[in-house]
Amino acid sequence: MEGHARPRRRALLVTATTLALAVAPLTACGSDGTKESGKLSVWVYQDGSTRIQKEAVDRFNKTSDVKVVLNEIPADGYQDKVRTGMGSSNAPDVFFNWGGGSIRDYVNSGKLLDLTPTMDADPSLKSAFLPSILDAGKIDGKYYGVPMRGTQPVILFYNKELFAQNNVEPPKTWEDMLKLVQLFSSKGVTPFALAGANSWTELMWVEYLLDRFGGVEVFDKIANGDSAAWGDDAMLKTAQAIKQLVDKGAFGKKFGSVSYTAGGASTLFAKGKTAMHLMGSWEYATQLTDNPDFAKNKLGWATFPTVPGGKGDASAVVGNPTNYWSINANTKQKDAAIAFVKTAMSEEYIKALVDNGDVPTTTNTADLLSSSPNPEFAKAEFEMVQKASSFTLSWDQNLSASVATPMLTEIQKLFNGQITPEKFVESLKALK
């Protein structure tokens, strides 16, 4: 369910569009007829949670004069479709996104409505959501999104059975982690599952390690366009730490073609071939679907350990804070659009998310979580996010695509041992 909400799962089947590079400007022709007065076109990412948005639309349409037309877009092509849509006359009025870099280009070209005045005018809207989540969606100090789905922090999952057999606890520090790597390797168990075919899974390690070594400030600088910040000492330490882990066999030798999207990493983890798995919170839902017994009885979760001499806060988390509704600046139905996005804080809507197994990000979520299908995990996840001193949006979403793409390649090369930590830092500094 939530597993599908992971962005930039570079689709396997998007091939058809791709050789038509030249035709891209032509594809945006045609009209869908949702532009006439009285209609509001809303685009949403299609996955297991979409029905909640559908219900919200039905509720909204009952009372509103302006009718919402919901367009569910298949996951694999979502970002491409929005991209082409926003560049054409066929743009949505309201659309689902990941905040940060996923909308930065739209903000820069003046295509999104600044929601800061709306938030100021209606304090109940602003106070309805956790501040760290609202802030994670800010661009240049302004709000462009209203949180509308569950939060997805990256969590260190572990196999409780394997840990109990070996009489060990989940790692709290870097030393703990190295000891565990040695212990599990000697027992023939790969310490960490890693889906090296999807470089965004490797990115999670870099994100957490940099946060622990240098604090949240280092990446904030990078996200604000200071490419010299890649050269921060903490970045080199991060790269060296990764090299150390790889060299010690923390990820085994064959992570290079393990895929998360094809289920490889999660299966290895559930079968007890690996002891731990650093992954987004959707891993729980994935395991619950594919390996229910493992999810219910053996799956444990912990926060990412601290590192020696690290400046970062041990409570800080990385991942996808949540998804947001953003409004097209050129919409003809501005008032209706604002009214619609506000339904995302209604108790009915939040309750529906909780019942679906999501962990919403409103301040009243805590009281509602007991009705979640997995209350224990949902509460732990919410607590982790609530306590977090900061919640850094995944870098590949936070940075513009022209920087994120080569960055992911460099990270993959670092994990594969194709470049040294020093060369890695140098390549990142060259990114603009």
Binding site: L21, R83, S109, P406
Partner: protein
């Protein structure tokens, strides 16, 4: 006299070249779906465009970047390597299979039918199939490892094997097509040539090298052009099997173009790469045509 000739010309059936008018549908189709996009790509290679708003003219910036881009250099080298390997592996294989399939053996029809099966599958299906088969943890290597007690190999996760895996999958996918071409070509060779050669005492091998191969000259050219242009634009398999990885070790030019245009949203620079690709593929096929004398349309039946 003059009058009669004129009349007979008018009343008799049309001979010689057909009028220009008949070319119009083809030319229109080609202009709209090939020339126009190519011109657009050429224009866009001088612009910067993120897919939103309007393309911004930046002069030669993209072209300067192209020449200093080490990734582009690497991708060209990889594309070249892939093209050469593809040709060198596929041509002998499809030639032999095609010539064999042109015969009239009893088992031929059945075996050919099975063998040509990959032709019916889409590239995406083939790539997904192979990715599953060679998965080091769940696929054949894992099985083989448990049978023979060896360490299972990670074919697409390692630099030294990833490109060869691509060549192998491409071979599996495209050899049937080329075999079909060679089968057709070989069937056209007159039996009388072989009969004459047998009377002169030529064995099967000599017949192959002195009759079959020269007679298949035009087929070899056709098939080679298809292979070379196909390898230069090889894309879907890379996207699914390796995604240009590990690192950038299988990032061939078409994949780099895709990544630049549709992952990084640098449509301008992506167009620059695309334009280079168009020029290269055209040049390669022109050179092949010239080198082999295919353009002269010389018959293989000359003197018969």
């Amino acid at each position: 006299m003059t009058k009669t000739t004129g009349q007979s010309r008018r009343s008799g059936p049309a001979v010689g070249r057909p009028g220009v008018i008949w070319a119009i549908p083809g030319v229109m189709y080609f202009s709209f779906f090939a020339v126009l996009p190519m011109l657009l790509v050429a224009y866009m290679s001088f612009t910067e465009w993120d897919g939103l708003g309007n393309p911004k003219f930046v002069g030669l910036d993209n072209w300067e970047r192209l020449f200093s881009d080490s990734l582009m250099g690497q991708s060209l080298w990889l594309a070249f390597l892939l093209t050469v390997l593809t040709w060198a592996v596929q041509t002998p294989l499809s030639l032999l299979i095609g010539v064999w399939a042109a015969g009239y053996q009893r088992n031929r029809a059945v075996l050919s039918a099975i063998y040509f099966l990959p032709l019916l599958l889409s590239s995406v299906a083939i790539s997904l199939l192979w990715r599953t088969l060679i998965d080091p943890n769940f696929g054949l290597p894992a099985q083989a490892a448990s049978w023979f007690g060896i360490d299972n190999v990670d074919l697409i996760g390692q630099s030294n094997t990833a490109l060869y895996t691509l060549v192998f999958v491409a071979t599996w996918q495209f050899v049937p097509l080329h075999s079909l071409l060679y089968q057709g070509g070989a069937r056209q060779i007159p039996q009388s040539l072989y009969d004459a050669a047998s009377i002169d005492g030529a064995g099967r091998i000599r017949q192959f090298f002195h009759i079959t191969l020269p007679q298949l000259r035009n087929t070899i050219t056709t098939s080679s052009i298809l292979m070379v242009v196909g390898a230069l634009t090889f894309f879907d398999t890379v996207l699914i099997l390796t995604q240009g990885g590990p690192g950038t070790d299988t990032t061939i030019t078409p994949y780099l173009m895709y990544r630049t245009g549709f992952v990084s949203y640098e449509m301008g620079y992506g167009s620059t790469i695309a334009f280079v690709l168009v020029v290269m593929a055209t040049a390669a096929s022109l050179v092949l045509v010239k080198m082999t004398g295919f353009g002269a349309m010389r018959s293989t039946r000359e003197g018969m």
